[in-house]
Symmetry: C2
Subunit: 334 residues, 2 copies
DNA sequence: CACATCGATCGAAGCGCTTCGACACCGACC
DNA sequence: GGTCGGTGTCGAAGCGCTTCGATCGATGTG
């Protein structure tokens, strides 16, 4: 194993000089730096992570808590994960994977052993037992999602209320006056998943402020569930002409059901969604949608903890404004 | 921060005694051990990971390389990941997440910095540039999947050849003589993904050894792809009565297509699959299937590297025997 | 009863790095 | 010409842990 001492010897300088070349924390003459870098290259030197962590109290690792067994939509989850890994690497950090099951104890463990410099938690619930742990940690943390009480916690998320409202506004501008909202399955609301509630609330208040009629229903992502949801919406919203769908898995099923029921999209029914851009584009009918900017949110979360590691404390909620992409699934009301 | 020195002082023993209590590497009297454990509990001591890694040359972290952007079927991928994390935790290890993009350099980096004790790689290709890196690493590694030349590498996988053969045998026992094989999309074969080829090879050689007729086709997991695959099979295998499906995503679509074509499963066509157990159970018709034992394979991979860390060198290919679960989708030929 | 044996404990030497203070050298300044 | 302030470099003191002798009673053995 090549150590910093080998590099120093090879370059004819002291150990600390090598260290300062690597960290840039003190100025080094161009000539010396050149020799050191050459030595590093020649010897294939890689600094020992443990020694570095011990001496600097920085592990250059961040923990990511992933809801591996949840009913989250996997493709989006994956985008978050890749986003976090990519952003972390851009900040010289690696990502330690924790599962939901590890829970609060897992957080305490990785933080207490100083294995990680920071923690990012996905899919937080409204009243999550991990929140208190996070608040008490010496390490910074960031949530993807917003709990009931986000005080003292850095949170990033899509502005789901504004997203739903943006769908409503788009449909209203096309002349639609009677709208339905298809949400995630009931259990997601029960668990107090905040994005679900915020989207529905955004839908409802947008209806109110524009004096439109409408209702929202939960929906399981199978044919029966979709049929039931549509039936309920039709019953509660006579003359339904527009739909806002916030349920990635149900969306393709819903389009399929409408198709086999002989309903044309958007001629008979306009459909706007909150879903990954890629999905919206690749469906049978390209769907007008507010994209879920998973990679961007992941980068936001990483940025939040990195800034805190640099000493800038700013534990606030950061919501990304929705961007609606109009596609073929919405049109003027007939 | 509580250090081992604090614990030692609190328990009235030396630092090394605390260390030996923790590691169990030397015998400690029950009474002393009690005092030390009490001190650990009272102070909430957690050993510093960096210091430990530096002193012991063990990080207690293993790297998992995940094909986050591949066309792998996500639910199965997730099962592998949770399986690895769970098994690693059972061996006192945490899991560092590397993406495919990091490639060979990523492996060199985490190994070279001694960030990880071992590496587990998923979704290896037949001729994977990372294989040479793995062979040269001082750390042990294990592959989930089998490359063209597995020499010097620990590999674990399902015996896909035997799995396909087991499906053929089951169908043959039910009297079927004309079989089709529905595989993954063409690109998966192109990339040299070994499990795809091994399954098809197993199917073909099982046909031969039982003197049955049949053919295999690749298949994209959409309605058009499935229809095309079925048409080609019917053309190449007149009197087709049984299907072996090795394509998780196409399987539900296929059942749907058969249904809407008015074909009864298993009365008109028997269907056996290689797919996750959970999926096989939850389809419209419960499907006779060889399960993909993702969690078990993950545990096998972790076990392989752990044993190597304990000094037992055994870099061989370990294939799990298939377990066929007979369900409603297969029946006697009419 | 002397001696080897063993169990329980301690002290100290690292592990490879970061970082602080010190120092030597140089040019600028009055 | 002495002083001051930079700049570039070095030495050494840790960071918190593991682990290798060494020590010291107690126990067993011939």
């Amino acid at each position: 194993m090549v150590t910093i001492a080998d590099v120093a010897r090879h370059a004819g300088v002291s150990i600390s000089t090598v260290s300062y070349v690597l960290s840039g924390k003190r100025s080094i003459s161009a000539e010396t730096e050149g020799r050191v870098r050459a030595a590093i290259r020649d010897l294939g030197y890689l600094p020992n992570a443990g020694a570095r962590a011990l001496a600097s109290s920085r592990s250059n690792v961040l923990a990511l808590v992933v809801p591996l067994r949840s009913d989250m939509y996997l493709p989006v989850l994956m985008q978050f994960v890749t986003g976090v890994v990519t952003a972390a690497r851009a900040h010289e950090h690696d990502v330690l994977l924790l599962t939901q099951e590890e829970g609060a104890d897992g957080l305490r463990r990785v933080a207490g052993t100083a294995l990680t410099d920071a923690v990012i938690v996905m899919d937080v619930q409204q009243h999550d037992p991990r929140l208190e742990v996070l608040r008490g940690l010496p390490q910074p943390s960031a949530l993807i999602g917003v709990p009931a009480d986000p005080r003292g916690l850095a949170c990033v998320d899509l502005d789901f209320a504004a997203s739903a409202a943006s769908c409503v506004a788009h449909l209203a501008d096309l002349g639609h006056r009677d709208l339905g909202f298809v949400g995630p399955p009931e259990p997601v609301y029960q668990r107090g998943t905040s994005f679900a509630r915020r989207a529905l609330a955004g839908f409802t208040s947008a209806l109110r402020s524009r004096a439109l009629a409408g209702a929202g229903v939960p929906c399981t992502p199978d044919y029966r569930g979709v049929r039931r949801a549509l039936a309920e919406l039709r019953a509660r919203v006579p003359g339904l002409t527009g739909l806002v769908v916030h349920n990635e898995e149900a969306l393709p099923v819903l389009l399929d059901v409408l198709h086999s029921d002989g309903l044309r999209v958007p001629d008979d029914l306009s459909v706007a969604a909150i879903c990954p851009d890629q999905q919206a584009q690749s469906l049978a009918v390209p769907v007008t949608a507010v994209a879920i900017p998973a990679e961007e949110l992941a980068a936001d979360a990483v940025r939040a903890v990195m800034r805190e590691l640099e000493g800038v404390r700013d534990r606030t909620v950061r919501l990304r404004a929705p961007e609606l992409r109009v596609r073929a699934s919405t049109g003027p009301v007939r």
